[in-house]
Amino acid sequence: MPGAVALSLSVGVRPGTPATRDTSLTRWVLTGIALTFLGVFLVLPLVVVFTEALREGIGVYLGSFQDPDALSAIRLTLIAAGVSVPLNVVFGLCAAWAITKFKFRGRSLLVTLIDLPFAVSPVVAGLIYVLVFGRQGWLGPWLAEHDIKIIFAAPGIVLATVFITFPFVARELIPLMEEQGLEEEQAAMTLGARGWTMFRRVTLPNIRWALLYGVILCNARAMGEFGAVSVVSGHIRGQTNTLPLHVEILYNEYSFAAAFATASLLAILAIITLVLKTAVEYRVRRQMELSARLGDKS
């Protein structure tokens, strides 16, 4: 029976063994579930945002950004991000440097504390600031006396944003710097480099992609944060509204077109972030691989 022989041979050369290979049905079902899930929960809402935003025409869409309240919200969002990103770059570098290059008491406590903003609800984060800086708070009387307004004003929003975004840069840098170790810095020192030269010419180039990655994530969160900012903002139109808060107000006032138009700005920001993130992620992975390869003992 030559046919049977041919059949059994052709089974033998199929890739993978039957025991470990999923049937094509399983593959299709699993992929289908994943894609449907993504479609319903991610793509569809995104499409809705843009169709709703453009429902009354491109003129109305663009017009909703001319509104002084919208402009003020954009400005405040840019300020919050503009202050918190540089601050957290500095903080992230210092923290990552201290954690990976020095041994000190409380090192693991610091690592845990960096994650605190991830662990705690943003509303709680906002309330903490109200309790400290608010009129009834610890520093309230002193601040009132000196006529400094933090809560229900821009400084409060910036503070809340800084708090919410501070893990991003540090968390990206710590694993990479741990992997890279101390030796290159020590080599630079034996070759006569001062601290700043060493940082600029050896450390920074080695971590630049991870740093950029952290900055992108930090920025996205700074511009999109709602909960903590909502608590400290006071929702004063044209003064203490950020973009996410502005969306909520417009929506509650049934100005759907304007609400969705503003929301589409945030959605565009998210898409840009994703694209940048993917590109930078690739470079970070390469840097990690390179470190692993150079550190290899063989």
């Binding site: 290159e184 020590q186 080599a187 630079a188 034996t190 070759l191 006569g192 550190g295 003992k297």
Partner: protein, 350 residues
């Protein structure tokens, strides 16, 4: 540039890495710090470089006569070669080697042209011409090692310090690089210290060997000196193979395995001792020849190599190893299971 290390101690928490270590390295010598892991040799090297701080008040380190204990590493002008090279991964070979020149203060920094010439001279010295544009990840281990060396030499260091310089290389490259480093040192004559746990490496390359154990120096001397006249049991055991017997000392003589012979150092002792005999210090004869000796049975013969190695069993069951030149082994013509007669011609007692 001579280095003087005086009463140096270093602790990491409760662990005493170095305990009151003193020694001198004369100008232009190539010195090996040899010892097992945890003996403090790398710590000592890093202290000399300034990559670790001395315990407060514990000793001094001088380059020539200048006390460098408080000096930061960047001012010491040392060339340090790390075990895993620590090349700057984002810089080309050229940039790596030029780094030490580029970070000099403006007044001392050579011109671009001068830097380029210097780097190319160094690339020639380490036999890596044409590799200037490569990145560390594109080089083999031996090549990275030589780039690290060129980078360290670029700043014209006062001393060259190498941490396990051959440790991360495979056996063949290792031997090549060993000879090459020795030759380089003979050309440059820069005072150099290298750390190794490989006794063969230390004995072959160094002018002088510093043997370390548990944070202390056991012995310092030329390779021949430490090999032939070990002063402690540790050195005896660490440098090459050795047979150990239980014995008893009476004055200058020691009794072991039913014989009595004079110890090599001629010191008077009494009481129980351990007796050490190197495999090549045992003579193996077909029968008794009048010299003090003891009988043994041949267990195994390995005649491959420059010398023949015989595993022997003593009447009391103890196992020893003897090495004899191939011609002597041919004359002996002893096979497995045969009875032979063993005469030590040199025994060590500590």
């Amino acid at each position: 540039m001579s280095i003087k290390v005086r009463n140096v101690s270093k602790s990491f928490g409760a662990f005493k890495a170095l305990d009151d270590v003193s020694f001198d390295i004369p100008t232009g010598e190539l010195v090996a710090l040899l010892g097992p892991s945890g003996s403090g040799k790398t710590t000592l090297l890093r202290l000399i470089a300034g990559l670790e701080d001395l315990d407060p008040g514990a000793g001094s380190i001088r380059y020539y006569e200048e006390d460098v204990a408080g000096q930061p590493v960047r001012k010491r002008r040392v060339g340090f070669v790390f075990q895993h090279y620590a090349l700057f991964r984002h810089m080309s070979v050229f940039e790596n080697i030029a780094f030490g020149l580029r970070v000099l203060p403006r007044a001392k920094r050579p011109s671009r042209k001068r830097i380029r010439e210097r780097v190319h001279d160094l690339l020639g010295l380490v036999q890596l011409e044409g590799m200037a544009g490569r990145y560390p990840s594109q080089l083999s281990g031996g090549q990275r090692q030589r780039v690290a060396l060129a980078r360290a030499l670029a700043v014209e260091p006062r001393v060259l310090l190498l941490d396990e310089p051959f440790g991360a290389l495979d056996a063949k490259v290792r031997t090549e690089l060993r000879h090459w480093i020795r030759k380089l040192h003979d050309d440059l004559h820069i005072t150099s210290v290298f750390v190794t746990h490989d006794q063969e490496e230390a004995l072959e390359v160094a002018d002088r060997v510093v043997l370390m154990n548990q944070g202390r120096i056991e012995q310092i001397g030329s390779p021949a000196d430490v090999y032939h006249s070990p002063q402690t049991e540790f050195v005896m055991n660490f440098l090459g193979q050795v047979n150990t017997f239980r014995g008893h000392a009476h004055g200058r003589d020691v009794e072991f395995a039913d014989i009595s012979v004079a110890a090599s150092d001629g010191v008077i002792r009494h009481g129980d001792v351990r007796v050490f005999v190197r495999p090549h210090e045992l003579e193996v004869l077909p029968q008794k020849n009048g010299k003090p000796g003891f009988p043994a049975t041949v267990l195994r013969v390995n005649a491959a190599g420059a010398v023949a190695r015989l595993d022997l069993q003593l009447p009391d069951g103890g196992l020893i190893t003897a090495e004899l030149p191939q011609d002597r082994f041919a004359r002996l013509s002893a096979g497995t299971g045969e009875k032979v007669f063993v005469t030590p011609h040199r025994v060590h007692v500590f």
